[in-house]
């Protein structure tokens, strides 16, 4: 049994700009976490979230698919959790771009407790940033 997460977002931008925000390591760092991502299939990289006492903050990933500027897929491994994240971009015209996020393979709760603690702290930080 595994669970899948499907989420849809819309941005007022161009496909090229959104693609760049998804595939440029420095930009990824601004909205996910520090990383050594490269848009090259087979490249292994890490997202390094703020560590806490329960979790080292590290997500181990490998680039699975790069189809500029429409589809990006990478693995997402934390502890025993092995997921696949796929981002699909769709130009809606009129300066709007649709982004679909799919995270598949959610199965084991082992990594959850620590991560939950981490995200909670992180979301609070985000709220502070937004309030500034």
């Amino acid at each position: 049994m595994s669970f899948s997460l499907n989420m849809d977002f819309q941005f007022e931008t161009t496909v090229e700009k959104l693609w760049s925000a998804l595939t440029d390591s420095r930009k990824l760092a601004k909205w996910i976490a520090d990383n050594d991502f490269k848009p090259v299939v087979g490249h292994r990289f890490q997202f390094r979230h703020q560590p806490n006492e329960y979790w080292d903050g590290i997500v181990n990933s490998e680039v699975l698919a790069v189809e500029a500027p429409h589809r990006l897929s990478f693995s997402w491994v934390v502890g025993e959790e092995r997921h696949t994240v796929t981002l699909t971009l769709d130009d809606l015209g009129n300066g709007k771009v649709h982004l679909r996020l799919e995270q598949t393979g959610l199965s084991n709760k082992a990594a959850l407790a620590g991560a939950q603690y981490g995200w909670k702290a992180w979301v609070e930080k985000l709220e502070q940033v937004l309030a500034e």
Binding site: M7, K17, A21, L106, L112, W119
Partner: protein, 109 residues
């Protein structure tokens, strides 16, 4: 985890027969074994074992009515599954807010 729950709800829903049982029970007030068993090729004993696992997870309650046992869904433990998935959805929603901000900043630059 409540004290009556002896089994992980994720185990309980890991099997397609048990997911179908949950669905059947969700559509009715309560159902007896023979009625539930009529939906599966495995016979009453097999269905009864699956109901036992659902019961251990707190997803099913049973009660005797005359000579038959009737089964009823208690969906409350499924919240744990929902929370588990919601956690990832919160994570990405927050990230996407930042992505939106980043794209706006680029627009201004």
């Amino acid at each position: 985890m409540s004290k009556v729950q002896q089994r992980d709800v994720f185990d309980a829903i890991a099997d397609p027969t048990r997911r179908r049982l949950i669905q059947l029970l969700a559509e009715a007030e309560d159902l007896p074994l023979h009625e539930l068993a009529s939906h599966f090729p495995m016979g009453r004993t097999g269905v009864s074992k699956h109901l036992g696992i659902l019961k251990e997870a707190g997803l099913v309650k049973d009660r005797k009515v005359g000579r038959e046992t009737r089964y009823k869904l208690d969906a409350a433990p499924l919240k744990e599954v929902q929370d588990w998935v919601a956690y990832y959805s919160n994570y990405w929603s927050a990230n996407m807010m930042r992505l939106g901000q980043l794209l706006e900043e680029e627009e201004d630059a």
